[in-house]
Symmetry: C2
Subunit: 773 residues, 2 copies
């Protein structure tokens, strides 16, 4: 079927384009990208380079090029570069005539493919077929098959190797670049780079198998940061040369010997060949899809979109190590490859019920960076753990004091994401509690979770202020999810999440007392936790201000005084812009003094905590939605989720489609980022789509160890199904107009209680039950 | 002697100009103005009108022309208008030839005079001599003598009467204007106006005595908001016509029948004549100067400047009623004729020891506006009394949420003077305590002072936040005197003043318990004061955070984090301005992220509370002074005062001269005010000069009922003297190189203890003692 944005899908497992649109080089490079949580390789054509934003972004390679520049992940040298020449012409999508063009992404196994037939000035067209994947079987491996077919007798020359002319948003990250010819037969090439700040040694190695022809001439040469094989082939009409290329990217933060490791990986891959490697990689994806795939009947577009978003949530999440998922994942350097609160609230929930070990990794990453959060708290005059708004390797704050530039004055703007958006810390307690609730992983609590929760409660204890005259604790000077309003007091979202975080810290304390008193004693001693602090937390729990829904209207004020701001609309404010690139928020943007939101705090609150009635959710949805500008890609999926819970199905569908297509249909808002590259995958929206479908359309919640469903089947869908992992039990859930069908895997250890409306059933191992809504 | 700015003085009692500078119409109109605390009449020429900013600004006539415009005092119709015509030419300072020009101000009795000889196209020059004063004997009265002398035979026509074509900064204040011919002989004219908002009926009445000639033709006519007598005179060479003009301005907020009152006043004045009225007015000034005059020997310029500033502090302070002294007094409508914190901290201290009843008036005005302060507190979510930043009749906040306009974007700026600059309230407690300390006026405490102090302490109790983890109360989100930094925490000035205010509230509570238990009981009942509140105040007193001087450097940080801001200079920041009219502060002005001050909080603190050693004052002076831009006219006098106390005499002299000449030498900073008129007298600087001389150069302080002096005689002065009233005793203090000489009036009731250095003496009634420094 034809989708929007010149895209097509046939099965809901793949999407492809047949038109090459030079205007969309940035967005298609993200949408067609491959990746495996260790590296992301953009979905560009093999003949391209930095100018077309070719990039291979690698996890755990953070570097700061120079003081004052942003810390970011490295774009490493590109080992998949190909150049084909006929006479003095170079094959290009931008010159000559291209026919028979197609670029496709097979989501089932993360395989990029592309075909094009090119006609230059010389007679005889050349057909290129390109396939590549980032292996899940060996995360360091990129494998590629590049086929060249001549339609007439011709001589072509091929340049291929490693292109080290990488681009970066925030400066030159490599203080040293060196090329090598290596391997048993001296037929491997490699490029070593050393990063400026950390001295990380990154090796990119490459090896080639060539079949179908033998070069009449071959050499290797180094030219301006490239190490290239140059080969000449004489082809007869119909001849196809197949290049199988195997590249390995290894760095000293991840492996002991990145140089030897990369060589061994390429040698091994070359021995196995492309097909065998693809088969092993495909098996990995089969295992992942078995626990993750959402199947939708009745609307092929929804099916493709669901898979696209789940796929991207997966490939940007490191599975090999305790590393964060970035706001743009591994699709580019924007947002620094760093974790934001999106990680816990948008990306992580899917893993709880699909690959809980990935959720654990993300939380262990927060444990590994606890010292950074402690340093940040101390630096700002607080105690405990104030997590970085932008968190990289160490957990020290990566978000700069001055981020945006005022387009009207050229002056830097001191936005306060890094110091006032404190909800990042309680958001982490929220996620760790979700993880514990979904998995029952007590070991994690003992090792990491309790300490994180205690330090976050401690931070909140140092951040609240007591209004003695009102007998309540308040949170002053905040920046909530609605980032257009900085410097607000008693932001409802932050208050509720902070209350939740203190409450769960105390619950975990009690459980530690029961289950691990020795470990608790040691932990108390190590972090200096006292009984006075625990009493203080209890006092905060009792006296923290929690704004209640208005008795008449059901509305909760987003923060103190919000309802007193100018009541207007995003459309009206847009008219007031002097420059379309203006930031709407701090310090004096058009939304600052208006009831216009970047994203809705209250809906975000409802998305996390289920303490609010459908009527309250609906009242607040109807109030805040028309006032929301959706300046954040996090906003639409939350609207979809809450619209569903509030019984507003048309709204839910509209926002579901908006959230699901942000990237694929190039609908993302292009915000000024200080850098030049504005693309990349909005990974939070990807994680949000899983939540809209499973938590929204299926109405999935856990209460007291039972799985609850409150389905709202979208009108266009006949049914949808998804797997759920819950405490070592595996279930398959199918929702259709008739109800909810739950199948339990035969290997399950226990019956799983399932609730739909008033019905409750225990689904025993190997059985299938249907509950009617 | 010749002063700066084309000014001269001969005796130190008067100043005059002999050059007419059309560029200085705005500033000379203020500098040469007359006034009596009830009205201010700008020092313009009688032939001028709105175009030259003629204005008669009248106390207690606040009006808001339309919603959204600033509330301000009215410019009433001008009854002193004269136009002289020879043929078809009108006598003017701007056309024709003017010789023999002089404009003078006699500060001794507040008499404006002006002379000029004008030559038009017709042969024969005309000499004008104009004198006018605003009577202190009858505050409603303006008296004028206008003499016209012909040097050749000529016929002149004179137009004089009431010019109702007034200008206002913030809209048309009169919804009704009506002219009358009135009086026993129908020879008085009057103009009645009714204000838009309050319906205040203001009458301006005028009567004339003419000697030296008799008009050959006379009529009265009304033309476009003017009611004018038109007279024709035939003059022989050397003839002088003398017009004595008597005008009365009365309004329904001040008198029961403003219409009859104004008529009676003019009739009475016309009966007495200019000379007799001037004699009575002069006597009033003699009484005022007897208690206020600072006599300086050795530098005539200093002498004149001291008197100029004391004179202006006096004429802008209402003495007839419980009304505020405006930041620009009665010199124009800028700053709305409203009280700011300047009133208590800059204007009032002089009165404590010169005319304590005026200090009491100002504080009674704060009592009268206590309900407005209560309303403001309640509206913003606090208790007690949060005084208006800009306070008019009712004490409700007159400062608008949006005051400045960003010159770079045209967008309004939400400055937070009205809601974050909370020190206004404790500043009032400070002043009432000073008053009580200087006068011992217990009656005032019982009637007004205790209630004000309790409600201010109550406000502070609702404004502090307890940091439980740090065991201290804090004040969050402040705007201190350094207005370039909004939204700061723990501003030292505000913390110390708040501590002082709570402390004095508790002291007054104890004294009320002792001296007026019944009244205390009634007051407690009326304002609902509880024992719990008193305990709470004591807790605040003990745990309010008071930033201490650094043990090594002696520095006190102006607010949390100030020392972490960019360390630069005002000159450097000036280079960064995109537009010279930019506001340097909120939201993103050049000083926001820099250690550059509008005025120095710490020096201001030292100016009020004497809890700090000279070494600490000096360290902070030396740190903050180079970083101060002096964007406020309050800044130089405080620098002079603290430089003196810190032993930096050159600095003190430099800033004394700067502060003393802000207006007279036209050195004020022209800040954007939202209106078109930027002039006016900086009354706070005037009050500040008295403080620099008496509190600074004489080192006068009161401790435990004794008068302390720590003199620092400026190098250019041989000696200086000033009167001091202290608890019904009158003293004359003379400082010279030898020491401090104190003469006690024979009528004093008690000996006054005086301390200089280690010496202490009781100066008995009628005696004179000299103490050596
Ligand atoms: Ca080497
Ligand atoms: Ca009438």
């Amino acid at each position: 079927m034809e989708l929007s944005n010149q895209l097509h899908t046939d099965t809901g497992w793949e999407f492809y384009e047949r038109t090459f649109d030079p205007q969309q080089v940035v967005t298609t490079g993200s949408n067609f990208m491959i990746g495996n949580g260790y590296l992301g390789y953009r979905g560009t054509l093999a003949e391209w380079d930095a100018e077309q934003h070719v990039a291979c972004v690698v996890a755990d390679t953070w570097d700061t090029a120079e003081p004052g520049r942003l810390t970011e992940l490295c774009n490493v040298p590109n080992p998949l570069y190909f150049q084909v020449r006929v006479g003095d012409e170079t094959l290009s999508a931008f010159a000559g005539a291209t026919t028979d063009y197609a670029r496709a992404m097979d989501l089932r196994c993360g395989l990029f493919s592309r075909r094009s037939t090119w006609q230059g000035r010389a007679p005889g067209a050349i057909t290129i077929e390109e396939e590549k994947f980032a292996s899940y079987d060996d995360i360091h491996l990129l494998a590629m098959r590049y086929r060249v077919t001549a339609q007439q007798d011709t001589e072509i020359s091929v340049l291929t190797g490693i292109d080290g002319r990488v681009w970066s948003i925030s400066g030159e990250h490599f203080r040293h670049t060196e090329a090598h010819t290596l391997g048993d037969a001296a037929d491997l090439i490699a490029m070593d780079v050393v990063t400026v700040e950390e001295g990380t040694l990154i090796r990119v190695a490459e090896g080639l198998n060539i079949t179908g022809s033998v070069p009449v001439h071959a050499s290797v040469r180094e030219v301006e940061r490239r190490v290239l094989r140059e080969m000449t082939f004489r082809l007869r009409a119909g001849d196809t040369i197949t290049f199988e290329k195997f590249a390995s990217v290894q760095h000293s933060n991840g492996v002991a010997d990145s140089q030897a490791g990369a060589l061994a990986c390429v040698e091994r891959a070359r021995d196995q060949g492309f097909e065998a490697l693809l088969a092993a990689h495909r098996q990995c994806w089969e295992r992942m899809w078995a626990v993750s795939d959402i199947r939708i009947e009745g609307d092929l577009e929804s099916q493709l979109l669901a898979r696209f978003n789940v796929f991207h949530n997966i490939i940007h999440t490191p599975s090999h190590a305790r590393l964060p998922v970035g706001a743009r994942g591994l699709s580019c350097q924007v947002y620094q490859g760093a974790a934001f609160w999106d990680q816990e609230t948008f990306n992580l929930p899917m893993y709880l019920y699909t690959q809980p070990e990935l959720a654990r990794h993300l939380l262990e990453y927060r444990y590994d960076t606890l010292d950074g959060a402690r340093r940040k708290a101390e630096r700002l005059g607080y105690s405990g753990a104030f997590y970085a708004w932008t968190s990289g390797k160490t957990g020290d704050e990566l978000f700069p004091d001055f981020f945006f530039t005022d387009v009207l004055t050229g002056r830097p703007i001191r936005n306060h994401f890094n110091c006032w958006q404190i909800h990042i810390s309680p958001d982490i307690t929220y996620a760790l509690w979700l993880y514990y609730d979904a998995t029952g992983d007590w070991d994690f609590i003992e090792r990491c979770g309790a300490e994180i929760a205690f330090e976050i409660a401690r931070f909140i204890g140092s951040r609240v202020h007591l209004r003695v005259d009102l007998d309540r604790y308040e949170l002053i000077r905040l920046l909530g999810p609605d980032e257009y309003h900085e410097n607000v007091d008693n932001n409802a979202y932050t208050l509720y999440l902070s209350h939740f975080a203190v409450d769960r810290a105390l619950v975990l304390y009690e459980q530690m007392q029961q289950r691990a008193p020795e470990q608790l004693r040691a932990l108390r001693a190590r972090i200096g936790l006292t009984d006075e602090e625990l009493s203080y937390w209890r006092d905060i729990l009792h006296r923290l201000y929690l704004p209640q829904p208005d008795a008449d209207t059901g509305l909760i004020e987003q923060f103190d005084g919000f309802f007193g701001l100018e009541d207007t609309t995003p459309a009206e404010l847009r008219q007031r812009l002097i420059d379309p690139g203006e930031y709407w928020g701090w310090p004096n943007g058009v939304a600052v003094h208006a009831q216009v939101l970047k994203q809705a705090d209250l809906l975000q609150l409802f998305a996390l905590l289920d303490d609010f009635s459908p009527a309250v959710m609906r009242a607040n949805y109807e109030y805040y939605e028309p006032r929301t500008e959706h300046g954040s890609s996090l906003s639409p999926s939350v609207h979809a989720l809450i619209a569903t819970k509030a019984g507003l199905q048309d709204e839910a569908w509209r926002y579901f489609m908006e959230a699901a297509t942000i990237d694929l249909y190039s609908r993302s808002k292009k915000v000024m980022s200080g850098g030049s590259f504005l693309g990349g995958i909005h990974t939070a929206a990807c994680g949000g789509i899983w939540q809209v479908i499973v938590r929204g359309f299926a109405g999935f919640e856990i209460h007291d160890g039972a799985l609850h469903f409150a389905p709202h089947l979208p009108a266009r869908w006949q049914q949808f199904s998804f797997p759920l992992a819950f405490r070592d039990n595996h279930l398959e859930v199918t929702i259709d107009a008739g109800g909810v069908t739950v199948s339990a895997a035969a290997a399950n250890q226990a019956a799983v209680p399932v609730v739909v409306g008033q019905q409750q059933l225990d689904v025993t191992p190997g059985s299938t039950e249907t509950l009617f809504a």
